[in-house]
């Protein structure tokens, strides 16, 4: 799957999640959008996103801790581009393993 397709699916999942949220941002969701500072994601939202992405891409047991932890500590921000890169890597590894 091309990265552009992955990005489109990730942004679509985020839009589905946040459509009823009262967000200030008028710029919409793009690659530089921050989940925590801009979309006001809380930890339960990270879980929901993880589940949604596994369903969207037909994967199970993805190591999402690689997204929200770095060098053994929790990150302060997760950008959409980082989610896309993460999914691209996981899908690539899944293809190679098959």
């Amino acid at each position: 799957m091309q990265k552009q397709q992955i990005e489109a699916k990730v942004i679509s999942a985020l839009k589905d999640m946040t459509e009823d949220w009262d967000l200030d941002s008028a710029d919409g969701i793009g690659p530089t959008t921050g989940l925590i500072n801009e979309l006001e994601f809380e930890s339960i939202d990270i879980v929901q996103l993880a589940v949604a992405l596994e369903q969207t891409f037909g994967q199970k047991g993805l190591p999402f801790e690689q997204l929200f932890m770095r060098d053994g500590d929790y990150v302060d921000e997760i950008r959409v581009s980082e989610v896309v890169d993460f999914m691209a890597k996981q899908l690539n590894e899944a293809v190679n393993a098959a």
Partner: protein, 349 residues
Amino acid sequence: MPRLVIDRDTSIHYQCLGQGEDLVLIHGLGANLAFWYMGIARRLARQYRVIMYDLRGHGRSSMPAAGYALPDMAGDLAVLLTHLEAERAHIVGHSFGARVGLYFTMAYPDRVKTLTTADTQLSCLQEQVRLGDWPHWQTWKRQLEAQGYHRLPPENERINFQMLVHFNQLTQGFAHGALNKTARTPSLKHRDMGNRGARRWDRLMQTTSAQAELRDENQITVDRIRQIDVPTLALFGEYSHCLASCEQLNRFIRPCKVKILPEVGHFLPAIKPRLFMHSLHHFLQQSHAGPRQVRIRPQAQPSGIERRIGERRDLARHSIAYPLTDRDGDLVLFDRRKPLYDPGTISHQ
């Protein structure tokens, strides 16, 4: 998001990770299953089928107008386990979640393999500690004031779940009852509430019977605690205000192991996840040992812990004497600088 419908007004959001023996993780008040999912759940999932769920009124579970008493909460878990075809499970609860786990064990003993109660305060075992009487309050208060937090609860107030949630909101810069933007972003490490989580909590407190029902612990009595006969772990933080309950659980439950994690307070599963998981895993492995028990002798203590050993601390008329040992005589202060498991110190019975 998997959701189990309990009745017309109640549905429970849950997540399962991994395969193996069933292990249930129950969060505390004001939290949700992310408390575990973002921490130890994925590691535990390497060996267990980890079952996490949002208590009713929390996370993505529904918020019925009533039904927040312990029998209702335990009933939800029973239905969930039946739905997942989990006949018996290891039950792990933190704070209020530990109360749910404890009551579940009393009400459904045949469904419990082991019970872990992590840092919970039980009114039948201890009086609620006044904030000013909590030994670590003055240190924490100085830290909060140094960071600019001055709207602190009065020191004669008793530490209860509402105060703990208030502290969570306080450090978010959230003015109670207002809908201001948070002064800083929610910390994933601390599983902080953001604006939406805080609004949801307010709605739970103000529009349902939860506030009154959650306070009611009449169903947990010393007599019922004494009847618990599954392997039990009392896992508490050294700075916790709940240590008196820990001591009493150790006294009344046979068999009970006790582990007190050093230099951490009430939120030990989130703040020291590796240590928490290590202690839990060790207990679960020991509970499998069967008739031939493996006993881990305590290792030599470093000077930091030696200072604490022998101290006698008073917590609002309830004393905790160190060293604290469980029924097998194992020292329970965990030496953070050394692994719990050292092959050189194992003795076999």
